[in-house]
């Protein structure tokens, strides 16, 4: 009986890092986007809203890349 501890450890590590990173990025993205809808009510400065929106899209872009890689893994 040979237990592949290295594979188990890498599954552990990769899952942990990727999950936390993805969830973190996505949350940053939606929080940044939500600033925009908050600002829509009040009169916040246009610049910071634009910045937040750009940041949000960058976060979503990274998440989208991760999902695409996931689909690639499924297909491959």
């Amino acid at each position: 009986m040979k237990i592949d501890w290295a594979a188990l450890a890498s599954v552990f590590g990769v899952s942990l890092v990727v999950t936390v990173a993805l969830v973190g990025l996505f949350t940053l993205g939606i929080v940044a986007l939500s600033k925009q809808s908050a600002a829509a009510g009040s009169s916040a400065s246009g610049g910071s809203v634009a910045l937040a929106r750009t940041g949000a899209y960058a976060c979503f872009g990274l998440c989208l890349a991760a999902v695409s890689y996931g689909i690639y893994l499924i297909v491959a």
Binding site: K2, S15, T19, T27, I30, S34, S37, G70, A76
Partner: protein
């Protein structure tokens, strides 16, 4: 196709039935959190999952070369043995569905195969070490990995959005969590269709090779791919509502951020494990992720009695499916009449379980109700409760004592006002 014997036809049909039970048993993995947090309506969720399962079945052409991945010596495996194994797996899948417990369909299949192979060729046909590395160790590792990842991710996501208090902002983040959850649930569905439909294709192909219809090493014919994909998609669309309820509501109460963290963790673990060479069960990863997300939120509770019942079911999966598989193989060994009896028992058993489920049906209309379902005292009680009509009135008082009422809002920033 001209040489398909009656036995072979029975095996193919049984394999498709197993595929079907696999589909509705595992709908919960992808969609339980999505349904319980209200990100998708129940019917929409299962429809989406079914379509993605179907697509997944066609995505990859690399069909599993073995049923058990080395647990059982499959050289010279007779067709009857495959049939007996499938009988064990199907009956265990249906029984766990009846009591609403998520358990691994692959492990049920392994169990059935082990039982049938032992009955057919003795203990020497089993590779004990592989049982440990492919079944026991993953069963411990999967919930730990997925649970830890989901717990940390839940903590993080609550931490990042703890300052979000504005009404519009809350609405916007809730929408975001919904979208994220749906995306990761879709990924899980797709991966499930690819992995599990291929398992069935592998079984049918193996049976066809054993029966001499296909040359060894050939790819599955198109009709096998199509029928396996359709069977798993139909099963998924039917929805294993009992298991969805346990996973989405029974283990813990999920808020949208938790659902998102759990589903993302599950999707990551499933993909990482299958591509880094240490396969983990989808069901066990998802259940672990849900529990981890439950622990990650401040004030979140995991109902350990439900979790314990689930762990017991995981432990029983292999021996129970094995016993049924062995019994079925004992019958099929007796000749054609034995195979007929086994087939009748399978149909009768499935029908009985279905009848029992009708006495207290769970479907898309009441999948998110928890009344009467929480905190039963143990496996036996649950099994009894599952086949008895619910007591009239009174569960509310019980619930009050076991589920702390969610504290109004402070640790709960992304709770949507009404997401349906």
């Amino acid at each position: 196709m001209e040489h398909i014997t009656l036995l072979l036809a029975i095996v193919v049909v049984t394999a498709l039935v197993f595929d079907f039970t696999n589909g509705f048993h595992d709908t919960a993995n992808a969609m339980a959190t999505t349904i319980s947090t209200g990100a998708l309506k129940p019917k929409t969720a299962v429809a989406m999952s079914a379509v993605l399962n179907l697509i997944g079945a066609f995505l990859s052409v690399e069909v599993a070369k073995t049923i058990s991945g080395g647990i059982v010596n499959e050289d010279g495996l007779r067709t009857e043995v495959i049939f007996a194994a499938l009988v064990g797996a199907i009956l265990w899948n249906l029984l766990t569905w009846l009591v609403g417990l998520p358990s691994s369909s692959s492990h049920a299949l392994f169990g059935g195969l082990i039982g049938a192979a032992v009955m057919s060729a003795g203990w020497s046909s089993i590779n004990g070490g592989t049982v440990v590395t492919k079944v026991l160790l993953p069963a411990i590792a999967a919930p730990l990995v997925a649970g830890l990842a989901a717990m940390l991710a839940t903590r993080l996501t609550y931490r990042i959005n703890r300052n979000v208090t504005d009404e519009n902002q809350l609405k916007s983040t809730a929408k975001g969590y919904r979208a994220g959850q749906i995306a990761s649930a879709g990924l899980v569905s797709l991966a499930h269709g690819t992995n599990d439909a291929q398992k069935t294709m592998g079984i049918i192909t193996l049976a066809l090779v054993t029966g001499g219809v296909l040359a060894p090493g050939s790819n599955p014919p198109l009709w096998v791919i199509v029928s396996a994909g359709v069977a798993i998609a139909l099963g998924t669309y039917l929805g294993g509502w009992r298991i969805i309820r346990t996973m989405g509501k029974g283990l813990t109460d999920l808020q949208p951020p938790q659902g998102f963290a759990a589903q993302t963790s599950a999707a990551t673990v499933i993909l990482a494990s299958s591509h880094l060479g240490f396969s983990l069960s989808t069901t066990q990863s998802c259940s672990g992720a849900v529990m981890g997300a439950g622990l990650g939120r401040k004030g979140g509770v995991v109902r350990w009695s439900t979790a314990t019942r689930m762990f017991i079911a995981w432990g029983l999966t292999l021996p129970a499916a094995g016993l049924v598989g062995a019994g079925a193989e004992f019958l099929t060994k007796q000749g054609p009449w034995g195979i007929t009896v086994t087939a009748i028992l399978l149909v009768g058993g499935s029908f009985a379980i279905w009848l029992a489920s009708r006495r207290r049906p769970v479907d898309h209309t009441n999948v998110n109700d928890t009344a009467g379902e929480d905190e039963p005292q143990g496996v036996v009680t649950t099994a009894i409760a599952a086949v008895q009509p619910p007591p009239v009135g009174g569960p509310a008082a019980d619930l009050m004592t076991t589920i702390p009422a969610p504290a109004p809002a402070p640790d709960d920033p992304a709770r949507p006002p009404a997401t349906v």
